[in-house]
Amino acid sequence: MNVEAVELAQGVHWIGALDPDLREFDIILKTANGTTYNAYCVRGSEGVAVIDTVKENRAEDFFARLEQVAAYDEIKVIVLNHLEPDHTGALPELMRRAPNARLYISFKAQIMLKALLKSEELVYTTAKTGDTVSLGDRTLHFLHTPFLHWPDTQCTWLVESGILFSGDVFGCHFCDPRLFNDRVGDFRFSFEYYYQHIMRPFREHVLDALELIEPLDLRLIAPAHGPILRDAPGNYVRRYRQLAQPMLLNEAGDRAKTLLIFYLSSYGNTARMAQAVRDGAEEIDGVRASLFDLQGGEVAPFVDLVEEADGIAFGSPTINGDAVKPVWDLLSSLTMVNVREKLGAAFGSYGWSGEAVTMLEDRMRGLKLRVPVKGIRVKLIPTDEELTLCHAFGRELALHLTGQVTRKVITMEELNAQTSNSKEYLHA
């Protein structure tokens, strides 16, 4: 393979590395087409900047390309748009070789940089939107775009050339040595897949970042993975705007809160509880409650529903001391979307030990849902009285969703003593 730096614009070069044989990235992504680690070199009248590096095992290619376009002692600036090891693997060696360089990182990256380089005595400059660093006749502008997809992520804008160094944003895992989007093979699937798996959980942050990026007069987007977007770069920005819209039409209208109740039931006990919860919730105006039997569903469409819902409740029997697998399957897929501060709740029938409900509640808290109403457990077949409790439980969830809960005052001891079996969700 020929190892050559590639010019993107006058004084701007791609100095990254190709990884065509990679088939899985970060455990979580399939990479049928391999990937690239894109790093860039920008030459100004008063010094050179290196923007991002590559994965450690590809450092040799990176240094070989860098050496073609700059000498180490010319490097004044190293920008890290993102600290993940696929972009910082070659950093320690680069810092050793380029002792005159100063590091520029997002101000949110400081603790992470220390953890990454295992050193407390680092010298660096932190950047936020509006901060710049001059290379003489050209200037790097920083855009603070956190959580795309780590807290530390930022973009760097080379205003004189209209080039946005975007980090993982607008990137994808697709290796093609022809590099430019108007020359490589069809990478649309990879672009979409990357968005869905890496950016989607951070939709609100994507929207914030787009507010900063959309006004730019873009001539080229230089992402940290995959093709360099020089042909119609604005199309990719527009595509992100589309992808960050809700996946589903909002049928319930803006005023209705949606509660999704997912359940499984072998003998119908948890199913009857679920119906009572739904009926209770529906009694409250402005709430649309829906029931789903997980036995008959696939995970992916439910994830889309959850993304747009205001509350989710899980009904699971306890089987062998645990909630049942389809519930865990759905819960483990919710990291794909933002569920923070949605309402969560759990209920279920059990035989003798009944662990499922508390386990589900703990898991939902772990996912950063709020779980304000203690779950209900019913031993085997629900009685009419117990179904009334389930009904009241549904009402209570709906009141929480619509912000109508009556204030409650409790002590820490009472809080500690609460068990899943308690009926404390019923306001006296």
Binding site: I111, E341, L369, R407
Partner: protein, 95 residues
């Protein structure tokens, strides 16, 4: 033992707690939408807004102060895993 009252605005619950309790100990039990990650004052996931009663909260530690600054938090924000309630009436909400 001196007590404090902490009100979680988002779920409408007030908890009476012993003075010195960390907010996270209450929020995770009561099921409020104040969430947490590292529990060690580094990730700022547990950042929350003190609606009133900041004068009843413990002083910010150096670490908490640094993490709050890095996250551009205002004067009314604290980390639930770090801040302790020392007495009186405190009202908090996610944020």
């Amino acid at each position: 033992m001196p007590k404090a009252n902490v009100t979680f605005e988002d779920i409408g619950v007030t908890v009476t707690v012993p003075a010195g309790t960390r907010l996270i100990e209450i929020s995770e039990k009561v099921g409020a939408g104040i969430t947490y990650g590292c529990r060690e004052g580094e990730c700022a996931t547990c950042m929350m807004k003190i609606v009133s009663g900041m004068e009843h909260m413990s002083e910010r530690s150096v670490l908490e102060d640094k993490v709050l600054q890095e996250n551009m938090a205002g004067r009314h924000h604290r980390l639930a895993c770090q801040a302790q309630v020392l007495g009186g009436e405190v009202v908090v909400r996610p944020g």
